[in-house]
Amino acid sequence: MYQILKKIAQSGIVSESPPEADESLRVLQQQLEDSVLRSFAGALTIRHVDAGSCNGCELEIHAANNPYHNLEGLGIRFVASPRHADMLLVTGPVSRNMETALKRTYDATPEPKLVVAIGDCGCTGGIFGESYASCGRVSNVIPVDVAVPGCPPTPRAILQGILTAIQLRAKL
């Protein structure tokens, strides 16, 4: 225990300040009502859905949770079920084999819900595009509020995308 405490003390706090929201990432104007916005109650919960990525974006979502980016320090947390989630973070081109699972996850997420598509594939279908096996971008399958480009987008860009999606709430 002494060694662990010593290491924690030596490491210090490495968390960096979060980025500003970026309006250019917004793809759909959200009509959020006051009652709806209040329901987030100072904490946002996210359900990540990998709909067919190469797993590069997953690495950066993990990185967004590391001590440098410290997503949880902002009151944003990943949850195990879409039923507990305010936001879906969707990666990958949507493979046709994941189309139904993604739609069901979307349906299982309670209103009001936000959807952030992560990565070039999520934004446009990326290198995989549309084919017999790929539905292409996420918005071809479910409504998307904010799309974050990058291959993969940096943790900072992912954070920015999340903050952009919830910015209206912050203004109240």
Binding site: N55, G56, E58, H62, A63, G92, N97, S131, A133, S134
Partner: protein
């Protein structure tokens, strides 16, 4: 088994690795598989292709022998597209054979005939990798019944998990049959991420396709990038400049370090030590940031290009990497002491998810997980390409085959990779970093074979006319290792599954293609 013992004519495949290729008939196909197995050889990959211009097929297997890799090809007629199955000889062949049927309609005789990659996104009688398949046509999706093996008995029940999992991980379905908390059987159902990668290769030029190869499994982008370029360069009879080969090894070791750091953090976290995740993910982030500074990409995507590497390092970059190596060595050693001496952690690690060496051998466990179960196999020591032939890599192995062993192998491998990076930086030769890639002749083949952080990545390539690609098959070590996870969890409790799964950390994207 040695090359001279083969009763068929074998010719060397040009390229960086010792690979021989030959055609076989149906009887030889099986008997050679049995003979190689009998002499301790392994199946690295099995795939099928359509012979361009003729309505006929081929099925391929890559087997290890004492002096390298043997790539055997069996012609299959279009009238009766069947070949003798080898899943009884090499159990790992089961899913590869089923994938070959789903994509090309070439069926293995005998054994498991259930679909694997086809979930209903295309019809049973359609085969995407056939040349006549209409890529643009959207086929009506339908939910297809998949017959899981049912376990019956008093108190046995099933837990279906996925495809959408509870954590930030890739999608797949796990069907647990359990009594109380104990796992009687786990059956995996993958293929959810199938996005037509192999078909897509056939529409790309040999140079552009390197980008796609780097996105077969994003966490192994360097291993795939190198394997693909090795195959393309072999087919074109090109050798990259020496400095590029050394830089590729530097990139591959940095990828290994970053992934092992991430895994060690999550393994601590899954056993209840969040401190471990915080510490190791901090170190991983440091490595990623330096990757970005020196190579322009956090995960080193597109750093390896056909003919060489995209970017050279300067003395400032080398200096920063040297400083990082020193800092990482100290940090990892101190964290290793904490992990080793933490009773709660060791209690969860030791004995969990055990794959005994004889089982690992029988089922063909490979890569990092294989080395933790006594399979002493590492391409960097067995058939070292430049620069590994002069680096004298110390292979990390363990015989316990449990989560603790896979943790130990990761620690040993990071420290070894740090040493290798140091030596590479010291001895980096001076030359160009990118040579030209002549267009390979139509029909020429190449094979890339690289020891990625997870295990051996193989890319087989056949060139088409004018710099196009007739067929590319990328093979992930996860094909071999996924079935072993099913065995590793037997008798363990369900709550230990995430920990055991993480200790293998297999790729979904790499096998779903």
């Amino acid at each position: 088994m040695q090359i001279e013992d083969f009763p068929v004519e074998l010719s060397p495949v040009p390229g960086a690795m010792p690979v021989w290729r030959g055609g076989v008939d149906a009887a030889q196909w099986r008997s050679l598989a049995e003979q190689v197995r009998g002499k301790g050889g392994r199946l690295v990959a099995l795939w099928a292709s359509e012979i361009v211009g003729r309505h006929a097929f081929e099925v391929h297997m890559a087997l290890t022998v004492r002096s390298g890799l043997v790539w055997l090809t069996l012609p299959v007629s279009a009238q009766r597209p069947e070949f003798p199955g080898i899943a009884d000889v090499f159990p790992a062949a089961n899913r590869m054979q089923r994938a070959a049927f789903d994509l090309l309609g070439v069926r293995a005789e005998g054994g498991d005939a259930r679909q694997w990659l086809r979930h209903g996104a295309w019809a049973e009688h359609e085969f995407p990798l056939r040349k006549g398949f209409d890529v643009k046509a959207m086929h009506q999706a339908s939910a297809e019944h998949y017959p899981f093996v049912a376990v019956r008995g008093d108190g046995v029940h099933e837990i279906p998990v996925g495809p959408v999992h509870a954590g930030t991980i890739e999608p797949g379905h796990f069907r647990f049959s359990i009594v109380g908390e104990r796992v009687l059987r786990l059956e995996e159902r993958l293929g959810y991420k199938h996005k037509g990668v192999e078909k897509l290769f056939e529409s790309m030029s040999i140079v552009d396709a390197a980008r796609l190869a780097g996105r077969v499994s994003g966490d192994s982008t360097v291993a795939y990038g190198w394997a693909y370029c090795m195959a393309a360069e072999g087919a074109a009879f090109a050798t990259p400049p020496e400095r590029a080969q050394w830089l590729r090894a530097l990139l591959l070791e940095r990828e290994r370090i970053a992934n092992h750091l991430g895994d060690l953090g999550f393994l601590g976290n899954d056993a209840g030590l969040a401190f471990g995740l915080a510490q190791f993910s901090r170190l991983m982030e440091d490595v990623l940031r330096l990757n970005h500074t020196v190579f322009g990409h956090r995960y080193l995507m597109d750093a390896i290009v056909p003919g060489g590497v995209a970017r050279d390092i300067d003395s400032a970059g080398a200096q920063a990497m040297r400083a990082e190596i020193g800092a990482l060595r100290t940090a990892i050693r101190s964290l290793r002491v904490i992990y080793d001496e933490h009773p709660g952690l060791q209690d969860r690690f030791i004995g969990a998810g055990r794959v005994a060496p004889d089982l690992a051998d029988r089922l063909g466990l490979c890569g990092l997980a294989g080395r933790a179960s006594g399979m002493s196999w590492d391409l960097r020591t067995q058939f070292p390409p430049t620069p590994y032939d002069s680096l004298d890599v110390r292979m990390a192995t363990h015989r316990n085959g449990d989560v603790a062993a896979r943790v130990t192998v990761r620690f040993d491998e990071i420290l070894e990779s740090l040493d290798l990076c140091w030596v590479i930086l010291d001895r980096l030769p001076h030359s160009e970093i990118r040579g030209s890639l002549p267009l390979p002749a139509e029909g020429s083949v190449g094979l890339g074979w690289v020891e990625g952080w997870r295990g051996e990545v193989l890319v087989a390539l056949e060139a088409g006319p004018g710099g196009s690609l007739a067929r590319v098959h990328p093979h992930d070590p996860s094909w071999q290792n996924w079935p072993l996870l099913e065995h590793a969890v037997i008798g363990n409790i369900v709550p230990d599954f995430p920990l055991i799964n993480k200790s293998f950390n297999l790729s979904y994207s790499g096998v779903d293609l």
